[in-house]
C-alpha cells in the first residue's frame, strides 16, 4: 500500500503466488493492475506493507538495504524496458560489470562476458558502446548482462516495449532458448501479446489482485 496517511493506494491486495525454477511466465494486466509492483516486490526493489517475499526460503523483505543489494547482485537478474546499459562502457564491459561487482577473476569475467554476447548474437559487437547499437542489440546486451551473474531468475519489465517486431522476436527467441536449454527462469511484466503467446504460464492481474493464473505448458 502506498500513501497510507494521505490517499491510500492498494497496489497489491492479498497476492499469493509462487514461482518454480525454469518458468517462463508473463504477468499481464491493464495499467495500474499491479503487475509492475509485483515484479518490484519479487526483485527486492520494493517491500510489502504486509506479508513476505521468500526466495529459496529467505524472506528478502526483512533484509537490510545493503544485504538486499547484495542479494540482488548474486541472485536476481534484471532486464529493463529502456535497456539501461552503462553508456560509457562497451557491450563487453557492460556484461562484465556484473561479474566485477561479484569480484570474479578478470579472466573469467572476460571469457564469460564474451561467451554470453556470442550467445545472444553479438559476438562481433563486443567493443561497441550503447550509442552505437540498435535498440534490439542493446536489449540483447541487457539480457546477457542479466545472465552474467547466474541469477536464480530474471525479471523483465516490458522488455520488448521499445523494440520493432523483428528485434522483439529475436529477443524472445534468445530468452526462450535460454529457458529451454539452460533452465533459466524468466518472469515478464508485459502488454505485448507476442510475449504472452510464448509464455508457459500467464498470471493476469486486475486491480492489485491475481484474477487468473494459467499454466499453458507443463
Amino acid at each position: 500500500m502506498y500513501n497510507p496517511d494521505t490517499v491510500p493506494v492498494h497496489a497489491l491486495k492479498d497476492v499469493h503466488v509462487s514461482f518454480e525454477k525454469g518458468e517462463f511466465t508473463s504477468i499481464v494486466g491493464p495499467s495500474g493492475s499491479g503487475k509492475t509492483t509485483l515484479l518490484n516486490m519479487l526483485g527486492g526493489l520494493d517491500k510489502p506493507t504486509s506479508g513476505s517475499v521468500e526466495i529459496d526460503g529467505m524472506d528478502i523483505s526483512k533484509l537490510k538495504d545493503s544485504a538486499l543489494i547484495d542479494f540482488r547482485l548474486k541472485h536476481i537478474g534484471f532486464v529493463f524496458q529502456h535497456y539501461n546499459l552503462i553508456p560509457v562502457f562497451t557491450a563487453l564491459e557492460n556484461v562484465a560489470f556484473i561479474m566485477l561487482l561479484q569480484n570474479r577473476p578478470k579472466e573469467e569475467m572476460n571469457a564469460r562476458a564474451t561467451s554470453l554476447l556470442e550467445m545472444v548474437g553479438l559476438g562481433e559487437r563486443l567493443e561497441a558502446r550503447p550509442a552505437q547499437m540498435s535498440g534490439g542489440q542493446q536489449q540483447r546486451v541487457a539480457v546477457a548482462r542479466a545472465l552474467a551473474s547466474e541469477p536464480k531468475f530474471i525479471l523483465a519489465d516490458e522488455p520488448t516495449a521499445n523494440l520493432d517486431s523483428e528485434s522483439a522476436m529475436n529477443l524472445l527467441d534468445i530468452m526462450e532458448k535460454m529457458n529451454r536449454e539452460q533452465d533459466v527462469t524468466f518472469i515478464f511484466s508485459t502488454h505485448d501479446q507476442r510475449v504472452i503467446d510464448r509464455a508457459k504460464r500467464v498470471i493476469k492481474m486486475v486491480d492489485g489482485s491475481i484474477a487468473e493464473d494459467v499454466t499453458i505448458q507443463a
Binding site: 545493503s66 543489494i69 540482488r72 529493463f80 529502456h82 560509457v88 562502457f89 561487482l101
Partner: protein
C-alpha cells in the same frame, strides 16, 4: 577498482564541454593563484633577505640601553671577548662593528637630521651586501680625508654631488656637540628611499676620533649561515655575556615580522578564496551530472552495485577531474615561476611608490616543492569535500524512484 576508475574517468567526459569548462577554470585559477602566491612569497623573501643581507643581518648586539637612549657612552663592553666567542660558533659567517650617532647634516642648501654610521668597510663588505648599492663614486675609499657616502635621495634633497663637502654635527662622549666636515666620495641607492634620506656612512675610525675615543663599538652585526639559527645563537650570546643585549632580526625589525605575518594571512585568504570558488564549481558540476544520471544510478543499485561503491564512484569522478586540472594548473604555474624566478616580474610603473615603502620593483617569485605539494593536497581535499554532498544524494537514490519501476 580499475573498472570503477574507468567508469569514473569516462563519466567525466560524457559532457566534454561542461567538464572542459570546469577544467579550464581550475587550470587558470590555480595558475594565476599560484603565480600570485609565488610573487608575494618572492616579495616577502626579497624584502626580508634584503634587509638581513644589507642592513640588519641575522642578529645584532648592543648595550642594553643603546637602542632606547642612543647615548654615545652606551658602548658594547668586552668587544674582543665577543669577537673571540663569535669565531667559535659554527653558524657564524662573519660580523662587523659599527659606531652610531644621530645628528645633523649641513649642506650648502639646508640642514636635516641624519643617522651617522661609522663602519669598517672591509668587515662590512664581508657581512652585508650594502656596498652593492653604490651608484656613483666609491665605497668609502681613502682618496679623501673624512670620506662619507650619502643616499641618492639625500643627495637630491641637498643638491649634493661627488666631491661636495658636508658638515656632520653629533654628540661626543663628553656630551659636547662636535661638527666636522666630510667629503662625499660615493652615492648609494638602496631599496628604501627612506633609508637613503636619513643615513650616511663614514669610517668608524674617523667617527670614533670625533666621538672622543678609539675602538668605540655601539653595534655588532652578525651574519649566520642561515636565518633559522638566529634565535639559537642570540640565546647563546645573551647567556654568555651580561651587559649586552643580542637580538634576532625579528626583534630588531618587528614591523618586518608583522609584514611577514600579514603576508602569510593574505596568502591564506587568497588561497581560501580560490578554494571556495573551486568548491562551488565542483559542487555545481557534480550535482548537474548527478541529476542527469539519476535513472542510471538507480539502475546500478538495482543490479547490485553497493551504495558504498556508488559513493566512491562519485568522489572519484570529482577527484580525477580536479587532479587533472590541478596538475596542469600547477605545471603552468611551475613553468611561469621557473622563468620569472630568473627574469623577474618588473613592477617598473610602480617603482617609485614601491621604493618609498622599501621594496624592490623587480620581484623574483619563489615557491618551494613542499608548497606545490601542499597546494595539490589542498585542492584534492577540497575536491573530495565538495563531492561529498552529491555523493550522499547519489546513495540516497531509491532504485525504484529513479528507474520508475524496473524501467
Amino acid at each position: 577498482m580499475k573498472m570503477i576508475f574507468t567508469i569514473a574517468w569516462r563519466n567525466i567526459w560524457r559532457r566534454p564541454a561542461r567538464s572542459g569548462v570546469l577544467l579550464a577554470s581550475i587550470i587558470i585559477g590555480l595558475w594565476a593563484g599560484v603565480v600570485a602566491v609565488g610573487t608575494m612569497n618572492g616579495m616577502m623573501n626579497q624584502r626580508v633577505n634584503y634587509l638581513i643581507d644589507s642592513e640588519i643581518t641575522h642578529l645584532q648586539i648592543h648595550h642594553p640601553e643603546f637602542l632606547t637612549e642612543r647615548r654615545p657612552s652606551d658602548m658594547i663592553p668586552n668587544v674582543e671577548e665577543i669577537r673571540a666567542f663569535l669565531r667559535t660558533q659554527p653558524e657564524v659567517v662573519s660580523y662587523s662593528t659599527r659606531s652610531l650617532s644621530d645628528g645633523m647634516l649641513q649642506s650648502a642648501v639646508k640642514a636635516s637630521g641624519v643617522r651617522i654610521r661609522g663602519i669598517d668597510p672591509e668587515l662590512e663588505q664581508q657581512t652585508t651586501t650594502f656596498y652593492r648599492n653604490m651608484v656613483e663614486g666609491e665605497y668609502l675609499s681613502d682618496t679623501f680625508r673624512n670620506p662619507v657616502i650619502v643616499g641618492q635621495a639625500m643627495a637630491n634633497d641637498h643638491h649634493l654631488r661627488l666631491g661636495d663637502r658636508i658638515v656632520l654635527t653629533f654628540e661626543g662622549l663628553n656630551g659636547q656637540l662636535t661638527s666636522t666636515a666630510f667629503n662625499i666620495v660615493g652615492i648609494f641607492r638602496s631599496a628604501s628611499s627612506d633609508f637613503d634620506t636619513f643615513n650616511v656612512f663614514v669610517h668608524s675610525d674617523d667617527m670614533n676620533r670625533y666621538l672622543g675615543a678609539e675602538g668605540i663599538v655601539h653595534e655588532m652585526a652578525v651574519l649566520l649561515t642561515h636565518a633559522d639559527f638566529s634565535s639559537e645563537v642570540t640565546t647563546r650570546l645573551n647567556e654568555q655575556f651580561s651587559g649586552i643585549e643580542a637580538q634576532t632580526w625579528q626583534e630588531l625589525s618587528p614591523e618586518l615580522s608583522t609584514i611577514v605575518e600579514l603576508s602569510g594571512l593574505m596568502l591564506f585568504i587568497i588561497t581560501l578564496v580560490i578554494m571556495a570558488a573551486l568548491a562551488f564549481g565542483i559542487l555545481n558540476t557534480m550535482l548537474m551530472a548527478l541529476f542527469e544520471r539519476m535513472r542510471e544510478i538507480g539502475m546500478l543499485i538495482s543490479i547490485g552495485m553497493s551504495r558504498k561503491k556508488v559513493f566512491s564512484m562519485i568522489l572519484l569522478e570529482s577527484l580525477l577531474l580536479t587532479l587533472v586540472g590541478a596538475l596542469l594548473g600547477l605545471l603552468l604555474a611551475w613553468l611561469s615561476i621557473s622563468y620569472l624566478s630568473v627574469n623577474g616580474v618588473n613592477f617598473g610603473m610602480f617603482a617609485e611608490g614601491i621604493a618609498e615603502l622599501g621594496w624592490d620593483h623587480i620581484v623574483f617569485p619563489v615557491l618551494t616543492s613542499a608548497e606545490y605539494v601542499s597546494i595539490l593536497v589542498l585542492v584534492a581535499s577540497v575536491s573530495l569535500l565538495s563531492a561529498v554532498y552529491p555523493a550522499f544524494k547519489a546513495i540516497r537514490i531509491h532504485p525504484l524512484e529513479a528507474s520508475k519501476g524496473l524501467t
